[in-house]
């Protein structure tokens, strides 16, 4: 029977559960890659009058589900003008565990492109993963969104961070560096040499959310980035609801509001990358490019004062990457990949030259689960 792509109706919930069970049994597919077992999205459901929302689609083979993907609809601004785009994410196919279904991934991607040609993908776990390879083969333009980190507590970092725990010899060296203080001294020296002195006269306040008064800044900023997702207050309050653990800060200079950041302070527990560190994340932010440094320094100091061990951020725009580097952050290999479909890449042309003028960060990804 031919496989058909169709919206996820409630009648297919049992088939999705069976699909997830097959994924789990067949190849130990991690639960975060299982397809949602509710047809109404928990995050950003489609509601009347709401522009930003998600839709679920399934690859259905008779009574069986063989795959699924999510489309997140969101308004962007491209060269200062509104441009709706669609984010293709969580494509899961039975092909992962049963090669008889190797074609389902391509079928889903081509169907999504037919539905919404202005498609992009973000995250994906690195260029070597199947999805980015498929996108590349289909002529999409891809680039990594640079990853930055700053170590606040070197001893804990040396004990906990995954790349240093991968081999016995690395574990031993890291443990030695942590115990003797050699690693601590090295990281502290690196931080101090790389950090610009903080700007005086900045005022930072923690807020509960965003209001219409903040939209003036958004209207100013959207002209300054080639591509940026809608960051009006109504959208921000949906993306970063008060009920979650987001920490919102606003930054002012001489009583003038110049930018904001959304942060997370998370105690990790046996995390595969971060061990048991207390992790600070700069999830999202906004300011004019010339004020990026002030906002990043404010965000960094806010998280430092809370006692995080490590601060991380992904930022595509060169001004924000530069601001992080000037704040003592180091850049390392990024697995957070941005892919633009052919029609979108044409609007960003020349893509290779313009990719670092696109404004993307973790806030543009697939929501609270992976922040």
């Amino acid at each position: 029977m031919a496989i058909a792509i169709q919206p996820y109706g409630a009648d297919l919930i049992p088939a999705v559960k069976a699909f997830n069970q097959r994924l789990a049994a067949g190849g130990g597919v991690a639960p975060e890659f299982h397809f949602p077992e509710n047809n109404i999205p928990h995050w950003l459901p489609q509601l009347e009058g709401r522009r930003i929302h998600q839709e679920y689609y399934l690859a259905v083979d008779g009574n069986c589900v063989r795959g699924g993907f999510i489309l997140k609809y969101q308004d962007f601004f491209l060269h200062g003008k509104p441009q709706p785009l669609v984010y293709y994410h969580l494509p899961v196919s039975e092909g992962i565990i049963n090669k008889a279904y190797a074609g389902v991934g391509v079928h889903m991607l081509r169907s999504a492109l037919k539905l919404q040609p202005m498609l992009f993908a973000l995250g994906m776990g690195g260029f070597d993963r199947p999805l980015p390879q498929m996108l590349k083969a289909m002529g999409w333009s891809l680039c990594a969104v640079p990853f930055y980190f700053r170590v606040n507590h070197p001893a804990k970092f040396l004990r906990e961070v995954a790349p240093l725990r991968e081999t016995k010899s690395r574990r031993l060296l890291a443990a030695l560096a942590a115990v003797t203080g050699v690693g601590w001294a090295g990281i502290k020296l690196t931080n101090s040499l790389r950090t610009s002195s903080s700007e005086r006269g900045l005022f930072v306040e923690q807020v509960e959310g965003f209001t219409e008064r903040d939209d003036d800044l958004w209207k100013q900023c959207r002209e300054h980035y080639i591509l940026i997702a809608d960051r009006a207050c109504t959208t921000l309050n949906l993306l970063y609801p008060r009920s979650k653990n987001f920490l919102c800060i606003k930054v002012s200079r001489a009583s003038r509001f110049i930018g904001w950041a959304v942060l997370l302070d998370t105690q990790m527990r046996d995390n595969k990358y971060f061990g048991n560190m207390r992790l600070g994340s700069i999830v999202d932010c906004l300011a004019l490019p010339e004020n990026a440094l002030a906002v990043m320094q404010a965000a960094m100091q806010f998280l430092e004062q809370r006692g995080v061990d490590l601060i991380i951020s992904n930022q595509s725009h060169h001004a924000w990457g530069g601001a992080l580097k000037s704040s003592g952050f180091l850049e390392t290999r990024s697995n957070f990949i941005f892919g633009a479909s052919k029609p979108l890449a044409e609007l960003l042309s020349p893509f290779q030259n313009n990719q670092n003028q696109v404004f993307l960060n973790r806030g543009d990804g697939d929501g609270p689960v992976n922040l």
Binding site: A2, A102, G103, V104, G105, H107, M108, P130, M138
Partner: protein, 82 residues
């Protein structure tokens, strides 16, 4: 099956899947050729589209998981093209 179409499909499939042409038989499929995964499946589809000047529909793509079906779908497409 010794049609010219089969020979062209065999050559393309062998090249993309990194196997000898003799390993590509009508019954060859994603289930019995180790390298035939989702990424190689896409590369096969793109190569057939380019070689034969056809556009494969999403619904046809996941049916093309063995050589016999690939030949059948391409034959239909090429006949339809005239």
């Amino acid at each position: 099956m010794n049609s010219p179409l089969f020979e062209r499909v065999r050559g393309i499939a062998a090249d993309i899947l990194g196997v000898g042409p003799s390993q590509i038989m009508p019954q060859s499929s994603s289930e019995n050729i180790e390298t035939w995964d989702s990424v190689h499946h896409l590369n096969l589809i793109l190569a057939f589209e380019q070689e034969f000047g056809v556009q494969l529909e999403p619904e046809e793509i996941d049916q093309m998981n063995n050589v016999e079906r690939i030949i059948r779908i391409l034959e239909q497409k090429l006949n339809h093209h005239g």
